[in-house]
Amino acid sequence: MRTLLAWLHAQHCPYADLRTILREKDRLEGLAPLGIMEVLPQLAEKTRLALLAYEQSKQSFDIEQVCRTHKSRMILWGDCEYPAYFYEIEEPPPVLYVRGQGGLSRQAMFAIIGSRRTTQYGLRNAKRIARNLAQAGIVIVSGLAEGIDTAAHQAALEAGETIAVLGCGIDWIYPKSNARLYEQIAESGLLLSEFPFGEKPYGYHFPFRNRLISGLTEGVILVEGTNKSGAMSTIRHALNQGKMIYALPGDIDRKTSEGPNQLIFEGAEPLLNCDQILDCHAVQRRDQKREASLELTPREREILCLLDQEPMGIEKICNLSNLSIHDIVSVLTSLELYGTVIRQGNHYYRTRR
């Protein structure tokens, strides 16, 4: 039965038909394709043809074998591992392929989404949010695209668990630039796809798969994106599915913050602090290691005071302090080694714990 479903899925039969077969699977057990067609006369023409074709080629089609080669496993609609939330979304996928150590557990999940075109501001905050939530035991879901998705996955991998929902077959690495991240997630996170093996990353897959990103989660966090970006399609799905929507406020004249700001205007919750999510969803927090308080030299303290006011570049620190350029450079590197400041682009930031 599983092989038959995998076959029909690979032939792109309508999801509705596959779900019908799954619903009636007890009655259909052991029946030949003609028998199935008799029991279920409502099946579409495409499904009927695929059923007949299956009879001829079932010798050469071994889904279990394919799964093994790609270190993946198949989850069917109705299996106990099938994510509960998926029963509530539109067009629930009848077949899912997953790869990786992580499970689709009943742990709280949040999606962090955003556009591929990003700014330092977006990347920095995507990482920060992902890290904080993952540390607290929340699974971070995103789409393995470049930009915000990559940042969120990476930070989540370092601190906890992450799930990538793909827009192509699970044996495709897309985008190629994320090959290493793909391997890392396969190693310690989870890759999930509703598309059959070998399915290419066609453009129309992505808005469709976006319903799974929002569908898996308790809520969606939009970090950056213009009004027209793909991330907004995930938000529309999330709204239909009744999920919480958080948006990271950004400069109003920045194109990439257009989407989040618009959402806030329309009533989404502005994400100012990760505690908003953690408090609201009563997630158990893991103990965060406190770094030993450091002995700071007067120069280090002077520069930290400046960075407390606002993030700034070396030139500005140089203007505002009386230190020479070589002192500033070495003090900043030393603070960076302590982990007290981080550098993003041209600017140094005080890290917040």
Binding site: R117, G147, E315, D327, S330, L332, T333, E336
Partner: protein, 511 residues
């Protein structure tokens, strides 16, 4: 009647003494040149014939054969004209006396009888001196570049007629140009670092680069001052010494470039455009010529818009950076040019140039930006020591306008650091920190236990590779030299980590 006249030809940037044998015999009048001469020498027939006639001498109606010996060496250039003309006149017994074996001739004949200047005169005079010549007759145009060569008489001759008139009685009249050796270098023509507003981090990097001969890469949007800073780097270098000056002038003389600034001791700055071909960058060509890396010898090679250069062309820089010389190998010969330069490169942060800018929105996608960065290969990045990301200058209220240190101030520190290096490496076969071999690091760059702990911490925290660590130690050594410290301190190491780490961070290495 056979005469032998001495001249010279170029092989790379070295001269090779050539004997020009001229034979006049009876027979059908004719004129031929043998001895692997190329087209520019074959054409000498016409130039020499008319030059002799227009100078008022009869051209002998004999069978003339000119042989350039050694005859198996390929020869090129127009500088044989003068010696051929003199040879013909001597063989025709129109000179009154024979030129001595220690006389040599370099110059091109013009149709009106003048002796013109030639390319590569200095290396040829130097090698003539070595091979025992005591007098060189040359064009007045070449006199100045050769004036610093001592121990050989340089006699400027403006025309063939002047030569013949004075040769018999040795009555040449000329003023030997004085060489202003001790003259203070006029750096002002190059500008001054105090012209630059802000960008102190980049200027500091330039100071370190100058002091230890480190390579540097500046990353910044259009108009932040990358080119302005690079152009001023030579003002941080002490003037060229006598030896350095001659070696640089030899190269520039072969390339036929003006030598005025180098004569004054100003280190060369070369700024090739990014459309440069491989041969033009490292040397080569049909007649093997020094490339930009050699023209920048003892000076600065500035590559603006680094990612726009052809990738394969850039890879050729690896050998000269490592070896301070470049070898051009051909099936028939292999020629070596010196190429010890400070490489300063500049690039935009992304194709549109506005990534990370406060004032402009960047229109590049992440992928476009990555691809742009990837054009600079890892091995080339490894060979860069100092990386600086430059921001747009801050437009603070005019009262706060901060000026950078003047070049003279910065230079005094650089000279100090260079003196320290010269003293430290006097027994070694290298002279600057950047050349310090990694196996000798422990000998010259002892790290205190505090510094070792810091290195260890940096290694864990910033994931710095061992190769980068070696580079960092060399940079730290230079920074300590700038500080006049014999021991590397933690602050020096931290600063070195900063400048190297800037690059790793930018390319996402070690993360």
């Amino acid at each position: 009647m056979l005469t032998t006249i001495h001249s010279c030809t170029l092989r790379g940037i070295e001269g090779v003494r050539i004997r020009v044998e001229v034979n006049l015999s009876n027979g059908l009048p004719g004129f031929s040149i043998v001895g692997l001469a190329d087209a520019s020498i074959k054409e000498a027939k016409e130039r020499v014939r008319i030059c002799i006639q227009n100078s008022g001498f009869p051209f002998p109606a004999k069978k003339i054969v000119v042989n350039l010996a050694p005859a198996n060496l390929k020869k090129t250039g127009t500088h044989f004209d003068f010696s051929i003309a003199v040879g013909i006149l001597a063989a025709a017994e129109q000179l009154g006396k024979m030129p001595a074996q220690t006389d040599a001739f370099l110059g091109e004949c013009s149709l009106n009888g003048e002796i013109r200047g030639i390319r590569g005169c200095l290396p040829m005079v130097l090698s003539l001196k070595q091979s025992g010549a005591s007098r060189v007759f040359l064009s007045p145009y070449n006199l100045k570049e050769c004036a610093m060569v001592e121990g050989i008489d340089l006699i400027p001759v403006a025309s063939l007629k002047e030569f013949v008139d004075h040769f018999q009685n040795d009555s040449f009249q000329f003023v030997h140009p004085s060489i202003d050796k001790a003259e203070q270098i006029q750096y002002s023509v190059l500008g001054d670092f105090s012209d630059i507003q802000g960008q102190r981090e980049a200027i500091r990097a330039m100071q370190i680069a100058a002091a230890g001969h480190h390579n540097a890469l500046m990353i910044g949007g259009p108009g932040v001052g990358k080119t302005m800073i690079a152009k001023r780097l030579p003002t941080l270098l002490p003037g060229l010494s006598e030896m350095e000056r001659i070696s640089v002038m030899k190269i520039h003389s072969v390339a036929g470039l003006p030598l005025d600034e180098i004569v004054k001791g100003i280190p060369p700055v070369r700024m090739p455009h990014h459309t440069i071909t491989r041969a033009a960058l490292v040397g080569g060509g049909n007649r093997v010529m020094p490339g930009e890396v050699s023209l920048a010898h003892q000076g600065v090679l500035f590559l603006d818009e680094l990612p726009e250069f052809d990738r394969h062309t850039l890879e050729l820089l690896r050998e000269p950076i490592e070896e301070a010389r470049i070898r051009i190998s051909r099936s028939a010969e292999s020629i070596e040019f010196p190429a010890k330069f400070i490489l300063i490169a500049a690039m935009n942060p992304c194709p549109c140039g506005h990534y990370g800018s406060r004032y402009h929105a960047c229109t590049c996608s992440e992928r476009e930006r990555k691809r742009y960065l990837e054009r600079i290969s890892g091995p080339l990045r490894d060979r860069m020591d100092l990386f600086v990301e430059m921001e747009e200058p801050l437009f603070e209220s005019s009262g706060q306008r901060v000026k950078a240190d003047s070049s003279a101030n910065l230079r005094s520190r650089v000279c100090l650091a260079m003196d320290r290096q010269r003293e430290r490496y006097q027994d070694a076969d290298f002279s600057s920190n950047s050349e310090l071999p990694s196996q000798e690091l422990s000998k010259y760059c002892q790290l205190s236990s505090d510094c070792l702990r810091l290195m260890d911490q940096a290694n864990r925290r910033l994931h710095i590779s061992m190769r980068s660590m070696v580079r960092i130690q060399r940079i730290a050594r230079t920074i300590a030299d700038l500080d006049d410290e014999s021991q590397i301190k933690e602050a020096h190491l931290l600063e070195a980590i900063h400048f190297k780490q800037n690059g790793n961070r930018y390319w996402g290495d070690g993360e």
